[in-house]
């Protein structure tokens, strides 16, 4: 590997002076809404992406206007929790600086799109006053740590949930550049404080993701992460975590050396100290052994496969200075959001609202944004985001439940949540057009329509109440985790999708490619046929994903 050339991103990171690069100068450049090329890489580490409105490129070029550049900001929100007060602030920021829409992501955080360069600093400053930040929400570092979202999963949910924050802080880059560049803090007198034993000055070869799941619900799709922590709880007591590593879903069309992979369970740690240490050292192994010459093969999943799982585990134990215990038994038997009202620990109530494709906005059907705003304004609820892009209005006292419900009802949230079909409520679509620069096909703008066209087919075959999981992405990067669904649609070109089948319903088995480059009529007729036979030949309790495997359809 030593004789291969490092990727340009490696050079940029090394030369960045703690992720500063020339961001300050880029911001000052009055002539363009863009930032310099190298800074486009660095700004990701600060939680932002430079994008442009892809619908508008041609027209603007003719007008001698540059492309309509703007920035997407993703918050660091370990475990996807926000206070009501923070939601209020977010609501205003989205209106003042972004497109109004608040987007809940598949990793339990929120994104705002369309922020002009001149609005970045005001936006981050406003977030700062709310004690929110976007540090390391993107880039070659540990990303937002996810955690099973619903408090009802366990009486000790809070205890597990707190790990998300702890891990996030442990794996936060030490550089103060975020504070200097965006919040105008004085530069440090000595760079000593910035010395970063974990990331050094190279950071990781690639993005890095960690999830914490509370069995039996695999709502976070734990195995798609670089590290999955599976909480082992006995008699309402946290015994420790099974530790899995090497998950990741992204592939590249036409590059057969890329593949999705589920994390491999390595063993069990009991104490917090050991858990944290193991997580830390998995990151250092990836830092030292990950492939820095090819970004397509740089994720931990390839590192583990190259080293071999046993060697990897050995190296991990060597670095930790302790052995991992044998993994404890656990079982994931579902992967769901608990819609509607549910009681959690301490007599608090939680309402999970169905937010289609995670876009919180006001439209003809319902006024989600107004509803959540009013709820936040009561000061009687907090907010949790799920890995399926939904919202839990949470921690509501019994006494306030009726009030909150009235608001949810008034703005149509209850109606949408209750009347949406099972397939729709269980579906995921990634962002794709018009902001994602990597999109080949539509996803969040299209999946809702496709489901509307599928519903009569489900109805016809009598499976309308079957929560068959369907997921769509605009490209094979897998942001909507389409390879972990029963029906996966992965964009290949505008209006064209590869159809994947055969994942299980709980996120434990990857699906496989069934047919390539299908357009809508073919997608509908293929699924009509397949679902028809499923409904006729299904064994009791068998899911659609299991059915196509049993029948060797894929």
């Amino acid at each position: 590997m030593a004789d291969k050339k490092y990727t340009p991103v490696e050079r940029i990171k090394l030369a960045s002076d703690g992720l500063r690069g020339s961001l300050a100068a880029s911001l000052k450049d009055e002539l363009t809404g863009a930032i310099r090329e190298d800074d486009q890489t660095l700004i990701k580490f600060h939680g932002m992406y430079q994008q442009d409105d892809r619908d508008r490129r041609e027209e603007r070029s003719e007008k001698r206007l540059e492309w309509l550049y703007s920035f997407m900001i993703r918050l660091r929100l370990p475990g996807g929790f926000m206070t009501g007060e923070q939601w209020l602030g977010l609501h205003h920021i989205a209106g003042e600086h972004a497109t109004e829409v608040i987007k809940i992501t598949t990793r339990q955080t929120i994104q705002l799109h369309g922020i002009l360069k001149s609005h970045i600093k005001p936006t981050l400053r406003s977030f700062d006053t709310l004690k929110l930040d976007s540090i390391a929400a993107c880039g070659d570092v540990n990303r937002n740590v996810t955690c099973s979202s619903h408090p009802m999963e366990s009486p000790i949910h809070q205890q597990v949930f707190e790990y998300a924050d702890k891990i996030s802080l442990m794996a936060l880059p030490k550089t103060r550049s975020y504070f200097e560049i965006w919040l105008d803090h004085e530069p440090l007198l000595s760079k000593e404080e910035e010395i970063d034993p974990l990331y050094q000055d190279r950071y990781l070869p690639r993005k890095f993701k960690i999830a914490i799941a509370i069995p039996p619900n695999n709502d976070v799709d734990a195995f798609s992460n670089d590290i999955a922590l599976i909480a082992i709880i006995e008699n309402n007591e946290l015994k420790g975590f099974n530790i899995a590593a090497g998950g990741g879903l992204g592939t590249t069309h036409g590059n057969s050396s890329t593949y999705p992979r589920l994390a491999t369970v390595l063993g069990f740690c009991d104490t917090e100290e050991k858990v944290m240490k193991a997580v830390y050292e998995i990151i250092t192994i990836q830092r030292d052994h990950g492939d820095r010459t090819d970004r397509k093969r740089a994720r931990l999943k390839y590192t583990i496969d190259r080293l071999g799982v046993d060697n990897f585990k050995e190296e991990l134990e060597r670095r930790c200075g302790f052995q991992l215990e044998e993994a404890r038994p656990y079982a994931f038997t579902k992967r769901v959001d608990h819609f509607g009202w549910h009681a959690g620990p301490g007599g608090k109530w939680h309402y999970t609202a169905f937010v289609e494709t995670g876009r919180v906005t006001d439209d003809k059907r319902a006024s989600f944004k107004t509803a959540f705003y009013e709820i936040a304004a009561t000061g009687k609820a907090s907010f949790r985001f799920t890995a399926n892009q939904n919202i839990i209005v949470s921690d509501v006292d019994e006494a306030d439940k009726a009030l909150i419900h009235t608001i949810l009802e008034r703005y149509g949230v209850v109606a949408v949540t209750e009347s949406s079909g099972e397939m729709r409520k269980n579906a995921i679509a990634c962002v794709a057009f018009n902001t994602c620069p990597l999109a080949l096909a539509e996803a969040q703008r299209y999946l809702p329509t496709l489901i509307t066209r599928l519903e009569p087919i489900l109805e016809k075959h009598g499976v309308i109440n079957d929560a068959i999981s369907i997921r769509m992405t605009g490209c094979p990067n897998g942001c909507g985790r389409p390879t972990l669904s029963e029906i996966g649609l992965i964009g290949t070109g505008y209006g064209k999708y590869n159809l994947h089948l055969g994942g299980d319903r709980n996120g434990l088995r990857l699906n496989r490619k069934y047919k390539e480059n299908l357009e809508e009529p073919e997608i509908l007729s293929e699924l009509d046929g397949l679902i028809g036979s499923y409904s006729r030949e299904q064994q009791s309790g068998e899911s659609f994903g299991d059915f196509v495997i049993r029948k060797s359809i894929v």
Binding site: L31, G33, R64, E66, S118
Partner: protein, 574 residues
């Protein structure tokens, strides 16, 4: 025709002469042949001498685009050749108290706006109309520049002429009006004036370097309608902008004679629906052929392409009131509204209405290209003029006419030279302040400086409403910046934040640098809206001089005056 030996002498003379000298010789010979019946002998400097150079002659010029100045200087040169004691002064620098002491006063002045004096002549003009001082001893004559396409042709010159009469001055030569092709009438006037001082026939020197003595030049500057075709028309504003601004490219079928900094004049056509409504209301026969003082054609043709029917001048409204027998308040109105609200008497021949109307005035658009790139092309940047009339949105005639023109439409225009808005030599630095369509001439400047690989530095200030939708020529400016043609660019977008930021604020922020550039000899340009922009820019410039140069208010003003004198403060504002 001419013996070889003489030809050789002539050749040698030409070879050893500078361009200016040759021009002078040319004029000299011209004068010999034409003006004075061959009686004048070429006697060198000591030859024919006129009467003693006693008479003090004061020549004033008031100009917007430099034509009057050019003529005044030419005239002064001529007078000096005649050993007359002639002094030429810019009208804004003239001390009003000197007026009554003048012996001979000659004024060259243009008409601007809607029959108004040039900006620089306003003070003098007002003073002249307010003063009570008698001017009994002053002898004078006026050379008035104008453009007969405008309704109020040469009215500034006329007004000054009348006012001087009223104050008791003696007109020694009738007012001379000049149209856009001013060379010949100006030359006639020069000769007339010089003739006044020739004590005896044959004693005056040959009149050289007269305006008409340069046939090439004269032809060049005659008003010449050029036919072109629109090859591109782009709305520069993005879709959610509050503005509409078109970049229009026109291709002519001949090489064009213009320089960066000039404008082109366009006479718009009236809107079809309005013309038809007027024909209907006036019960006119659209096909009737009518011959007027300045134009002829069918009623429809005249109403469409020749006569102004929008926002008639008060004088036209008055005539209409007389014609229709209505009492009409003293305001400007559209013809269609007059016909609607104050109908004509039954049986009024429509030609009488046409007779009242002025010609459609040409509109100027600063050229936004350099002929050095494409000698047959001219680009303009046209902003849709929008205004409210009784709370209803209306649009300016010419700007909407241009905006509506499709690609491949033919268009007629003529070049309007602006001698007072020109690039300096390539080594000089320039500072350009051009918000809105003020960017137009500077796009031409930058193309020009780029083509010349000029070594002087270029600094641009641009401003508009919103960065994302109103940054005219953004990608071109970026390219000029990246390739080192533009050393500095500062932009101000007034509606992007709650603080309204304009170009003058950016100038202030960069005051130190700006002052250094000025001290270094940079030429300062401002283009675009006259009020309030160019005034605020000027105030800011003065403030910068005080703050950065430690100057008192009056010292700063002096500094600016000095810059004006040196041609280092130039404006293209409207």
């Amino acid at each position: 025709m001419i013996p070889e030996i003489k030809l050789n002498i002539l050749q040698e003379l030409i070879n050893t002469s500078s361009k200016e000298e040759i021009i002078w010789i040319n004029g000299y010979l011209n004068g010999l042949v034409s003006g004075h019946g061959g009686q004048v002998t070429a006697g060198g400097h000591g030859g024919a001498v006129n009467a003693q150079p006693v008479k003090k002659i004061s020549i004033l010029y008031g100009t917007e685009t430099g034509n009057s100045k050019k003529l005044a200087l030419q005239f002064t040169g001529l007078a000096k050749q005649q050993s007359l004691n002639a002094r030429c002064t810019a009208i804004e620098q003239y001390r009003h108290e000197d007026l009554s002491k003048e012996n001979y006063l000659f004024i060259v002045i243009s008409t601007q706006g809607e029959g108004e004096p040039p900006e620089t002549a306003k003070k003098f003009y007002d003073f002249l109309h307010q003063t009570e001082t008698r001017l009994e001893d002053v002898k004078y004559s006026i050379l008035a520049l104008g453009d007969s396409s405008y309704p109020l042709f040469c009215t500034t010159g006329e007004a000054i002429d009348q006012q001087l009469q009223r104050l008791g001055a003696t007109r020694v030569l009738p007012l001379q009006r000049c149209d856009v092709d001013y060379e010949q009438p100006a030359d006639d006037w020069f000769k007339g004036v010089i003739g006044l001082f020739a004590s005896a026939p044959g004693s005056a020197k040959a009149v050289g370097t007269s305006a008409a003595a340069q046939p090439g030049e004269a032809k060049k500057h005659a008003k010449k309608n050029i036919e072109g075709i629109i090859t591109r028309s782009i709305n520069l504003n993005d879709k959610d902008s509050t503005r509409r601004t078109w970049h229009i490219e026109i291709r002519a079928n001949e090489d064009l004679d213009y320089e960066a900094g000039d404008s082109i004049a366009i006479v718009p056509s009236n809107r079809h629906e309005v013309v038809e409504r007027i024909i209907e209301l006036g019960k006119a026969d659209p096909e009737e052929h009518v011959t007027l003082a300045k134009s002829a054609g069918t009623v429809r043709e005249l109403l469409t392409g020749k006569l102004n029917i929008c926002y008639l001048l008060g004088s036209a409204v008055k005539k209409y009131a007389a014609l229709s027998g209505h009492e009409i308040p003293d305001i400007r109105m559209d013809l269609v509204d007059l016909l609607r609200i104050y109908p004509l008497k039954e049986g009024t021949p429509f030609a009488e209405v046409l007779n009242i109307l002025h010609p459609i005035a040409p509109r100027l658009y600063s050229v936004s290209s350099s002929p050095k790139l494409e000698p047959r092309e001219v680009h303009i940047t046209v902003s849709l003029n929008a205004f409210l009339k009784q709370d209803e949105q209306h649009y300016g005639l010419c700007s909407s006419f241009l905006g509506d023109l499709a690609v491949n439409t033919a268009i007629t225009f003529y070049v309007h030279r602006n001698r007072s808005f020109k690039l300096p030599e390539p080594s000089k630095d320039i500072i350009m302040v051009g918000p809105g369509t003020g960017i137009a001439p500077f796009r031409g400047f930058l193309q020009d400086r780029d083509a010349d690989a000029a070594s002087g530095r270029n600094w641009l200030f641009f401003g508009e409403r919103n960065f994302t939708s109103d940054f005219f020529y953004q990608t071109e400016i970026q390219q000029f910046h990246e390739t080192g043609v533009l050393q500095k660019v500062n932009v101000a977008f007034s509606r992007d934040t709650d603080k309204k930021v304009y170009v003058q604020h950016r100038m202030k922020e960069h005051g130190k640098d700006l002052y250094n550039w000025l001290e270094n000899g940079a030429v300062f340009y401002v283009a675009g809206s006259k009020v309030p922009m160019s005034h605020e820019v000027e105030e800011t410039l003065l403030e910068i001089m005080s703050e950065q140069g430690g100057k008192t208010e009056s010292a700063a003003k002096e500094y600016l005056e000095q810059m004006k004198k040196e041609g280092r403060y130039q404006k293209d504002v409207y």
